[in-house]
């Protein structure tokens, strides 16, 4: 896992790179999507890594969020800001 210095959003993160979630723009998400993301463990400080992209374009993407691999679309990933991973 390489740490990106500049904060970006999960959808713009290059493949096979990662960091930690530094912020979530809950207002961009529908209530349903927001709840689902929380249930899938999206929270500030959680390590993420972008693993795969869908075959026919940009959507969907597969990311490691904490210990889970989660599939989501760029529209939702754009609400998740990613910064460098803090060492423990």
């Amino acid at each position: 896992m390489t740490d990106d210095a500049a904060p970006t959003t999960l959808d713009k993160l290059p493949l096979r790179s990662g960091g930690a979630i530094v912020g979530i723009d809950w207002d961009r998400l529908s209530e349903r999507d927001a709840r689902r993301l929380r249930e899938l463990g999206v929270d500030e400080g959680v390590p993420v890594e972008k693993l795969h992209k869908g075959p026919f374009g940009v959507d969907p993407i597969a990311c490691r969020i904490g210990r889970m691999t989660v599939a989501l679309r760029s529209a939702q990933a754009a609400a998740i800001a990613v910064g460098p991973l803090k060492s423990k």
């Binding site: 899938l40 904490g66 210990r67 889970m68 989660v70 989501l72």
Partner: protein, 621 residues
């Protein structure tokens, strides 16, 4: 006398709940439904170490207690004692995945906070070790305040310890009612999640997390080019296997039924009862049971894809294409299940939380070629499509079958596209799904799943299908025509008269009277069309001097190729299944969408059959 204590089994999806349930109860399971909702109710008996019986209730896998999808609502209501038709559980067994403590502990914390006597099964500890995690169960137990038993459900490790722990709980007393305003039900997810993470860190004594296997497999399965090729290959192999692997067992069953007919014919005096049994019951039921091998092969693939964790990858690959017609990849799983049977498929839509996405998926699910169509397709293909190879390992019959599946899928996609832009219009649904680790499917669990499916099928063959076949045989056989009647005797019968009345409706699309006749009882279930044709032609054949043995031979002599193709096209689209209609009505809460579905599917079927017929005629087939 006290009733058997009820223990509820709860946990996140992918915690290995089903495997644990199977390990605890063995094959002593009851699968049913909750009244009013299509969430499956699965319960089983297990004996504790001291021999006391306990009823174990398998709750649907959910992420929280917030009742927003039907699954979550059932879990919520059962635990609150509000679920109709369910008694209050006296204890709770919470399953968590040792490799994903952060997330699973969150739901576990919420469940423990309800205050019921609780045991936690720390499942898949072997996987956690392989992933480089060492977890201290005693520490975790101290943090949670309830017993924690490490288990490996698939290898039956820790099962006895778990039973002992449950025994100590349920000894302590009766059911506990949880209030609707219980604080555990309203705790903030993020807050819980943070506590869960803190506990996970405390309990994990060694961490070097790496999921090598899954990563390597995903590098292929989710590859932008290899992934779709892999998916297409799996699906193609699946459909070829349905035909190729089933040939021998199908012939065996077919032979057994012919032997049975001969034996009954030899043993009984000629008369009404003998022809009812030989031509009605055995011919009709046999014509359907012969397809059991194909149906089981199809279910085998679906069960394997689900158990291995590949199904969600397939959803990932398909998401973009599904998005083009206004659905999400999530809809792919119910739709693929619908290839086996639309009923579990429609029930699987309950995991889709967007209501419009879900409704659209329900409306198009019956277009997926379910296993009940296989008997119809197999007979017609067997009769009219020559069994020759068009390429290495690719048979023409298999190819035509594949084409019929594709036609169903294309029809479904087209329908979804139109529906999402008209009647089920709404914002595009999101796609968010956990991708579980790959797992070696457990043979025992797959076998159990297949056994349950086989039983359901045979029960149908023994009840609905046997009944409709016998009724049809009676209608086809009576009244007997007078001696000087020069048309086939079937024209004189009740069924013949009804079919003659219906025939003008179907004549424009190339259907003959016998087909119209077969379509009526086939409303009960599609495969009845085959037994109906078998019955009709068995009665009909009595008039002839030459006796062809099989239905396939009889069809060849009576139908033209365009007619046969039109019949196939009809079955791609027609919603001929009472059970599906009932499930759709229940799922959509009324007749409005059910009626809509029936109307649009019958229209599609009629148009498609007509177009097929006239195209084939024009091509001179």
């Amino acid at each position: 006398m006290n009733p058997t204590p009820l223990v509820a089994l709860a946990g996140n999806p992918n915690a290995g709940k089903s495997a644990l349930f199977n390990a605890l109860t063995g094959a002593r399971q009851k699968v049913g439904n909750y009244p009013g909702v299509t969430v499956e109710r699965k319960s089983g008996r297990m004996s504790l170490a001291d021999g006391r019986p306990v009823e174990l209730l398998d709750l649907p896998g959910t992420y929280s207690l917030q009742p927003s999808s039907p699954d979550e609502a059932v879990t919520h209501d059962v635990l609150l004692g509000k679920q109709e038709g369910e008694r209050l559980p006296s204890a709770l067994l919470v399953v968590i995945d040792a490799t994903n403590l952060d997330n699973h502990l969150r739901f576990a914390l919420q469940l423990i906070a309800l205050g019921l006597p609780t045991v936690v099964a720390l499942n898949m500890v072997d996987m956690a070790e392989r992933d480089g995690l060492t977890i201290d169960a005693a520490k975790l137990s101290a943090e949670l305040g309830v017993p924690v038993i490490p288990t490996v459900a698939v290898r039956r490790r820790g099962i006895e310890e778990l039973k002992t722990a449950i025994g100590m709980l349920s000894a302590s007393g009766g059911a506990v009612r949880v209030d609707a305003d219980h604080p555990a039900l309203h705790e903030d997810i993020v807050e819980l999640q943070r506590r869960a993470r803190a506990i996970a860190v405390t309990a994990t004594t060694e961490e070097n997390f790496k999921r090598r296997w899954t990563h390597r497999a995903d590098a292929v399965a989710l590859h932008p080019i290899l992934g779709p090729i892999l998916l297409a290959t799996i699906l193609f192999v699946m459909f070829q296997a349905v035909f190729a692997w089933s040939a021998a067992p199908v012939d065996m069953i077919d032979g057994a039924f012919i032997d049975l007919q001969d034996a009954v014919t030899a043993a009984m005096p000629d008369g009404f009862l003998r022809s009812l049994i030989v031509e009605g019951l055995i011919a009709g039921v046999g014509a359907v049971i012969v397809f059991l091998p194909q149906i089981l092969i199809l279910f085998l693939f679906i069960l394997l894809l689900e158990a291995s964790g590949y199904m969600v990858r397939a959803a990932f690959i398909m998401d973009h294409l599904m998005a083009r017609v206004g659905l999400s990849g999530r809809a792919f799983i119910p739709l693929l299940s619908s290839f086996a049977c639309a009923i579990p498929g429609i029930m699987a839509t309950r995991t889709i939380d967007d209501p419009k996405d879900r409704l659209t998926t329900i409306l198009i699910a019956p277009l997926m070629t379910c296993s009940a169509r296989l008997p119809v397709y197999a007979v017609i293909i067997g009769a009219f499509i020559p069994a020759r190879d068009v390429g290495p390992g690719i048979g023409l019959q298999g190819l035509v079958l594949f084409g019929l599946y594709i036609a169903g899928i294309a029809g479904a996609m087209l329908a979804a596209y139109v529906l999402r832009r008209t009647v089920t219009k709404g914002p595009p649904p999101g796609f968010m799904m956990e991708m579980p680790r790959y797992q070696m499917p457990i043979l025992r669990d797959i076998a159990l799943g297949l056994w349950q499916r086989a039983l359901i099928f045979l029960k149908r063959a023994g009840t609905i299908i046997a009944f409709t076949t016998v009724v049809l045989w009676l209608l086809v056989s009576f009244p007997k025509p007078p001696a000087d009647y020069d048309l086939p005797s079937i024209d004189y019968s009740v069924a013949g008269r009804i079919a003659n009345g219906l025939e003008p409706v179907f004549r424009p699309i190339g259907f003959n009277r016998d087909m119209a006749l077969a379509l009526i009882p086939a409303m009960a279930a599609r495969e009845v069309a085959v037994s109906a044709l078998a019955t009709v032609y068995a009665v009909d054949a009595a008039d002839e001097t030459v006796q062809e043995k099989s239905l396939v031979e009889r069809l060849r002599g009576r139908w033209s190729l365009p007619t046969a193709l039109a019949f196939l096209a009809w079955f791609v689209f027609a919603p001929q299944c009472i059970s599906t209609i009932a499930v759709v009505r229940r799922e959509t809460n009324g007749w409005k969408w059910t009626g809509f579905m029936l109307a649009y599917l019958f229209t599609l079927a009629y148009v498609a059959a007509g177009a097929t017929y006239w195209t084939a005629v024009a091509l001179g087939l």
